[in-house]
Symmetry: C2
Subunit: 277 residues, 2 copies
């Protein structure tokens, strides 16, 4: 089965943040993608409501708003400031009518070896956001990151762990769910089971596609375009669809190599890639 | 609680394979370690029985023999040849009176995206070794590797997955168990639960210690000496001991930086490090 471009969204990180957000929106719409996932850094100094209107006028939906400020901190004051910053981001996500606000939760505070404490701070942080998210009707998509980022980017590292947190903090509340990213989860022997559980629990809020290159030369900046690596992405997308995922498949690729290209060229490559998926 | 050097074994990889195995054995014994874990590559062209005798004469035990030839292959003939090679290694492990033969199982065959098939080939490969292992009385220690190695080194990536394989293939047979390595498993939210399960099921055959550096500059060759990174190794060792682990803690560090040092210097550093753990 092939999927038309109307099933795909472009995460703006894939384009390397090279153009202004208004140009980026137009480029992505012109190529025929159905959605966009913008980053907060691109909206600094802009009128977010106006950007939201532009996105809709171009016929795009917002598959996700990227992303949370990391929760874990070395002091309570710093943790609170992180939570407050995330509340501001939720206002922006609401203006953008984003399908979800993506939670990349952060790792260990500098100098800490206390992983259990970092994870507790994450749970407390998500708890502290739930009321605002509910009021604004912005779903929170908790994204498990690959275990190789546990120390410095996210201490939520499997889909099972993320779903357990959802159940614990928001039983029966569908405004907390998960974002399942192929790059972060392809290796997980429990992925099929957890994809099913996410679907059953109504928590599959976002699916990101990208590829794992062999060899991987850089732990952050060497993701591949779908098809260039070893992830069976057709099966990944089919699995999500089998379990009630009706959202867009979002293309999110951090890549030094890709970012050397002109964003128009990246969009064209991405278009061909998604159409063959 | 501190542990004396009599609780530690040196994996020879930590020394960068710089010296002859006979010198390495003597160096490690002289420093006061209780055990050694040699690699197959170091024994090529030697009389393995004689090396085993030397090790024992020096007062060292063999905490593990490293390691299996990867199982997954592109053809049945190649898979069979991998299994046969591992049977030869089991003979060597028996000569060395190794506490276990370490199974690092391999990832995807070149060009393959079929992770389920690779995992099946691993199960079939372990099955095919069990009779020989039982005859020789050499325990097989299945080592889950960090998920970042799933594509090219090992498609067994969590302790839970490894224990599930043990249960499936060798219910009631203690000659199949797990090697739990801090570097590969520290991030796993289920590690405490799985360490308990491994203990309860009598399958905790080996524990490896080393550290995760932040940042990690190389996916293979940038492990840290215990204490230099962010793993809470005191808790890791205590957790193992709490769950019936009475074997040695094996120091296994792949590190470009470390390997620039003279092996004597590495042994001295390691000695100080282990004594402070």
């Amino acid at each position: 089965m092939t999927r038309g471009l109307e099933r795909f969204s472009m995460n703006t990180a894939t384009l390397g943040y090279q153009a202004e957000i208004t140009q980026t929106v137009e480029m992505i719409a012109r190529a025929g993608f159905a959605g966009i996932a913008p980053w907060r850094r691109e909206l600094v100094g802009t009128d977010v409501r106006q950007i939201g209107r532009l996105i809709r006028d171009c016929g795009l939906s917002v598959s996700g708003y990227c992303r949370s400020t990391y929760f874990p901190a070395s002091s309570r004051a710093e943790w609170q400031s992180n939570v407050d910053d995330n509340k501001k981001a939720l206002d922006e996500a609401a203006e953008l009518q984003a399908a979800c606000f993506v939670l990349v939760v952060g790792g260990l505070p500098v100098g800490s070896r206390d992983l259990a404490n970092a994870r507790q701070q994450v749970e407390d942080g998500i708890s502290a956001l739930l009321e605002t998210a509910t009021k604004l009707n912005v779903p929170l998509a908790l994204e498990p990151l690959h275990p190789m980022y546990a120390a410095d980017r996210a201490c939520v590292n499997t889909t099972e762990q993320a779903l357990d947190i959802c159940r614990k903090l928001a039983l029966g509340n569908p405004l907390l769910g998960v974002a399942v990213d192929a790059y972060h989860t392809w290796w997980d022997p429990k992925l099929p089971e957890m994809m099913e559980r996410a679907g059953d629990e109504g928590r599959l809020l976002a699916c990101h596609v990208n590829d794992w290159l062999v060899p991987t030369r850089d732990m952050l900046m060497d993701r591949g375009m779908p098809g260039d690596g070893i992830i069976d992405l057709s099966s990944f997308c089919a699995l999500a669809e089998e379990h009630q995922y009706t959202g867009l498949f979002e293309l999110e690729i951090f890549s030094n190599e890709l970012w050397e290209l002109d964003p128009c060229e990246i969009v064209n490559q991405a278009k061909r890639t998604c159409q063959s998926l």
